[in-house]
């Protein structure tokens, strides 16, 4: 098991795993955001690779993808950002979140060469289901890279067991059917579902899709080991998109986002670096 996962995720609870899109609006910001998120208590970063056809994502992340693509971001360039984050002090694991086609085009060998070179910790491929992931799982194991799996409320007990058995890093529970995005409340079925997953899982169980308010975190806290926050943070980025690209206002913009994040994860009562 990857040492950063061991240190920051394994056997932990109150996990805060934020998602940011690489290169949104440009690479510098991504690095700064990652550092800020670590400061606010993030246990790992999901680094989203922009894609032309992000079919598991909602409109907020789609727009982030478009912004990043416009500035020439790619899977390779995104992975090259990781050492730069490390240089500036990022210690938590970085998980590459990418659609399968980008991986296929880069090729397995080149991808893992980059994983090794850039010290990448995990991989999440939303459109690579369990049945098709065998080969990639092996390579991930070989390269000490966590391959994060998703489970959904519609996942059958049998499948859940199979997925949970082979899970590494953490298990990503999709809080509701649907694409990423923010929603105002969770259905009670979500909690039953998460309990079901918890029972099977040997790794931490984090809930994602729609987590955007402190109340969400509070609600979920007792049922699972942590939350994944994507669209909610990206929406903050979007609202600061001009400011983030101006050296004079960048810091202030990041602090605005920081304030939002701090508020969001407050229910975890984290001891953050800044405090």
């Amino acid at each position: 098991m990857n040492k950063r996962f061991k240190e920051h995720v394994e056997n932990k609870n109150d996990l805060f795993i934020p998602f940011i899109t690489a290169g949104d609006p440009e690479p510098e910001t991504t690095i700064e955001l990652a550092l800020m998120l670590q400061e606010e208590g993030a246990n790992a970063i999901e680094l989203g690779i922009p894609y032309s056809d992000p079919l598991a994502d909602g409109p907020v992340i789609q727009r982030a993808s478009e912004r990043a693509l416009k500035n020439g971001m790619s899977l390779e360039k995104a992975m090259d950002l990781v050492p730069k984050m490390r240089e500036k002090g990022l210690e938590i694991p970085v998980i590459i979140f990418t659609y399968y086609n980008l991986l296929l085009q880069l090729g397995e060998d080149r991808f893992f060469a980059l994983v090794r070179k850039n010290d990448v910790d995990g991989l999440l491929v939303p459109d690579l289901p369990f049945e098709e992931s065998g080969e990639w799982k092996e390579s991930c194991l070989k390269n000490e890279t966590a391959l994060i799996s998703l489970v959904a409320p519609t996942t059958s007990e049998e499948r859940l067991k199979k997925i949970a058995d082979e899970a590494t890093g953490f298990l990503y529970c999709v809080s509701s059917l649907g694409v990423t995005g923010t929603r105002s409340h969770f259905q009670s079925s979500v909690f039953t579902f998460v309990e079901r997953v918890k029972k099977q899982s040997k790794v931490p169980v984090a809930v994602g899709f729609g987590v955007s308010r402190p109340e969400h975190v509070k609600e979920l806290k007792d049922y699972c080991d942590g939350v994944i926050v994507g669209s909610a943070i990206i929406r903050q980025v979007e609202s600061q998109v001009e400011a983030l690209q101006n050296p004079e206002t960048q810091k202030e913009a990041i602090d605005q986002i920081r304030a939002y994040v701090r508020d969001l994860v407050a229910p975890f009562e984290k001891t953050t670096i800044h405090s």
């Binding site: 056809d53 598991a56 086609n101 459109d127």
Partner: protein, 395 residues
């Protein structure tokens, strides 16, 4: 063709499969189960064929294009008249099948993607006929270009949902339809319009379209020498080819080479695409170096899809089917020739297949036969043709 395709994983050789978010896996499994059950139910199959006959007007005839054959001075050209289906194209065969399945699965809603609007109209049509709610996702750009089909869908009671993401065209509408489906799998059936998407879609659509080839085999006295069909996603071609795969016949799929391959403005997925994943399936697709999917181009809205059905990718790889490219101009010329020689205005999509037949016919003798799948009628394209042919139509 000794291997049975697709295999258990929905693979045609290395192509196909189910590359979808976990949230959809359950729906695909449910679909696969229901599909297998339905396809082995005599009652379901009979109902499907009854609707094809009494609602869509099948069997569609095969017309001998005698004047055209004479003019070309080679093979006899026969046209399988899918343009005579209700709503004007082969698309309805599949839409009827899937909608009946949706009803059997007790889904109340269908969702579909559409580019030119032909599949959207087919989906809206079956939704009305079988009492389903219907949402059709369509790129904003396409909504603008296909105003009349948009209105047809609305008239049929469907909701047309504008898609403003990405390039605002078919591939984005497909993404959006999948997204909607992901969020509503419980009561919603996703009615895909071609032999694309995750397994079991390519197989299901093929099986609902094979009526084209099955009928042709009964209607023609002998197996033709060549069979030609256009390929967007590839459903009319698969429907036509599939029953002939084991026969001694040249099968030719025709992609749109648009303004010419060298211009980059084309939809020639097999000749210019690379292996990749699109809409849940591994196949060839048009993409840039890093794997971003590229917007294809063709004068025919039904052919400008950046991917191709996985079974076609497989049939291309095995060499059983040959794939050719036809440009906008060649297709327009063929359209004009068929209109003037036989009084049939084909869809611009279908005109691509015809253009290839026109190229190949002179190399054969008068006792040889080419069967062309005339996938749809050209009424929907008259505006486009007007723009391109302009005033010189009667010269």
């Amino acid at each position: 063709m000794s291997t049975i395709v697709p295999d258990q994983r929905g693979r045609y050789g290395q192509f196909g499969g189910k590359f979808v978010p976990e949230t959809v896996m359950y729906a695909l499994e449910e679909l696969e189960g229901s599909l297998n059950e339905a396809m082995s139910s005599k009652e379901f199959i009979e109902h499907y064929h009854e609707e094809l006959k009494k609602y869509s007007g099948r069997p569609t005839p095969i017309t001998h294009a005698e004047n055209l054959s004479k003019r070309l001075g080679g093979a006899q050209i026969y046209l399988k008249r899918e343009d005579l289906n209700h709503t004007g194209a082969h698309k309805l065969n599949n839409a009827i099948g899937q909608a009946l399945l949706a009803v059997r699965m007790c889904k109340q809603k269908i969702v579909a993607e559409t580019g030119a609007g032909q599949h959207g109209v087919a989906a809206a049509t079956v939704a009305a006929r079988y009492g389903l709610e219907c949402k059709v996702f369509m790129g904003e750009e396409d909504i603008r270009r296909q105003e009349l089909n948009v209105f047809r869908m609305k008239l049929l009671g469907a909701e047309v949902v504008p898609v403003s993401s990405g390039s605002k065209t078919l591939k984005d509408a497909t993404n959006e339809a999948i997204r909607y489906w992901v969020s509503n799998v419980e009561d919603t059936f996703y009615l895909i319009g071609s032999v694309v998407g995750p397994h079991p879609y390519p197989k299901m659509v093929r099986d609902f379209q094979r009526v084209i080839g099955d009928e042709s085999r009964v209607q023609l006295e002998k197996t033709p020498d060549k069979i030609i069909a256009c390929v967007g996603g590839g459903s009319n071609a698969m429907g036509m080819f599939y029953p002939y795969l084991e026969e001694q016949v040249d099968l030719i799929g025709v992609e749109a080479s648009g303004k010419g391959i060298h211009t980059g403005k084309h939809a020639a997925t097999l000749s210019e695409g690379r292996l990749g994943v699109i809409h849940g399936s591994i196949t060839y697709l048009l993409q840039n170096e890093t794997g971003q999917i590229q917007e294809p181009y063709s004068i025919s809205a039904g052919l400008d899809y950046p991917g191709i059905g996985p079974e076609h990718a497989y049939l291309s790889e095995t060499g059983r089917v040959t794939y050719k490219g036809i440009t906008d101009q060649e297709a327009l010329d063929a359209l004009k020739i068929l209109s003037e020689e036989e009084g049939i205005i084909p869809a611009i999509e279908s005109a691509h297949a015809l253009a290839e037949a026109i190229k190949q016919a002179p190399e054969l003798t008068a006792s040889q036969e080419i069967l062309v799948c005339l996938s749809g009628r050209g009424d929907k394209d008259v505006h486009t043709i007007m723009e391109h042919l302009g005033g010189d139509v009667d010269e």
